[in-house]
Amino acid sequence: MGETMVTTKINGRETRVPIDTTALEAARSIGVEIPTLCYHPALVPYGACRLCLVEVKRPGHGGGRIVTSCTFHIREEGLEIDTHSERAQRDRKLVVELLLARCPNVELLQRLGKDLGIDKPRFTAQKQDENCILCGLCVRVCEELIGQSAISFTGRGPGREVSTPFLEPSEACIGCGACAFVCPTHAIEVQDLLQLRKLDKWGTSLQQRPCVRCGKFFAPEVELEKLSDRLELVKNWLQLCPECRREVAATDWIVGLRASPASPVRRG
């Protein structure tokens, strides 16, 4: 193919990757694991969590440079990348300690800390119940992929948090739950309470549509409206829940068989 390939050395192992590949992707492609929290293959790299730090050296240019591997694109020949160099590990450890100071009771961070050999974080935690690490995955998913931008970062410095505009329930939220799915620390919760879909963190409470066949509430009205518009579907397509649609499709199959004169159908 017409892609330009570049050679790079990752942890002493030479590998050829297409130009513009990020250091993280290159490392993962040869099975080198770099811890990440804010990376998602479907999203534009963001470099928020700083866990993916690696040391990049350009031969003949002295000491290496610490970069976030998810946002570092390999664009030249012969770079040497050390994913677990002493410096990178030391900095990564500090990052985890700082994250632990923000969210001391998040299991994922505690596990990461243990892996990096942190017995007791040097910094004391301010709040015990905080579980948002400000990785921005939810914000980016909502904006880039779902296209709703219902939530965003608000405030600066220590006051920075993810919330809906003016902390009011957002009208843009369609209750799809993608933010909850991508959240690495499970800080967002989606609840289906009969006719309501609730995302308490955003104050969202949406009316769900009942299936016309079985009566089960299966998805928020606004979400289904969006899907119909997006696919230009006929209005009654999304009146049935997925399970009922499967049964209806099966029924149609049988009816179709019965109607065709050529095929004898087992009498039931």
Partner: protein, 175 residues
């Protein structure tokens, strides 16, 4: 282009296809170990009952697949000559739009970890020259894996046979 075709008159409703599918998509690929796995391996073929008639339903790998069109992450793709709709789990963001729009209800969500389960026509097995697990497990050969062109051809042949039978009989009785 090969697809899983079902001759529903032969289906017993034994659900061997479901079990074989779940085992094939488990980590261990062994029935006894698969039961113990967490999360529980999920099946991608679902036997539905309509008027007591069992019908196995799985992804049709539609030409203009709504799930592929609606997927915001392009995690569902339809590629290659075979046109198989495949899901890349790493890219999934769990919006479940594919589940909501599938006209056959053939895309399912595993509740425990919100993972989308859909038929991949056992691409791994196919690359080893094997048939999809459900087809291989079907004891009555109700499920078959064959080229789509052959399906039309078989139908044509059986229709021709019917036609012959109906035209030959009267002359036989008349003469």
């Amino acid at each position: 282009m090969k697809r899983i075709i079902c001759d529903i008159e032969k289906c017993l409703g034994c659900k061997a296809c479901q079990i074989a599918c779940a085992v094939e998509h488990s980590v261990s690929k062994d029935l006894v170990q698969a039961i113990e796995e967490v999360p529980r391996p999920g099946y991608r073929v679902m036997v539905e009952y309509v008027e007591q008639m069992p019908i196995p339903m799985q992804c049709r790998h539609c030409d203009d697949a709504p799930c592929v069109r609606v997927c915001p992450t392009h995690c569902l793709t339809k590629e290659g000559d075979e046109g198989i709709v495949l899901a890349d789990r790493d890219k999934c963001i769990g919006c479940l739009w594919c589940v909501l729009v599938c006209p056959f209800g053939a895309v399912r969500m595993r509740k425990s970890d919100r993972v989308v389960l859909k038929c991949d026509l056992c691409v791994d097995r196919q690359s080893q020259g094997l048939q999809p697990a459900c087809v291989a497990a079907c004891p009555t050969h109700a499920l078959q894996f064959k080229p789509v062109d052959d399906v039309a051809k078989d139908k044509r042949l059986s229709a021709a046979r019917e036609l012959l039978a109906s035209t030959v009989k009267p002359t036989a009785s008349g003469g």
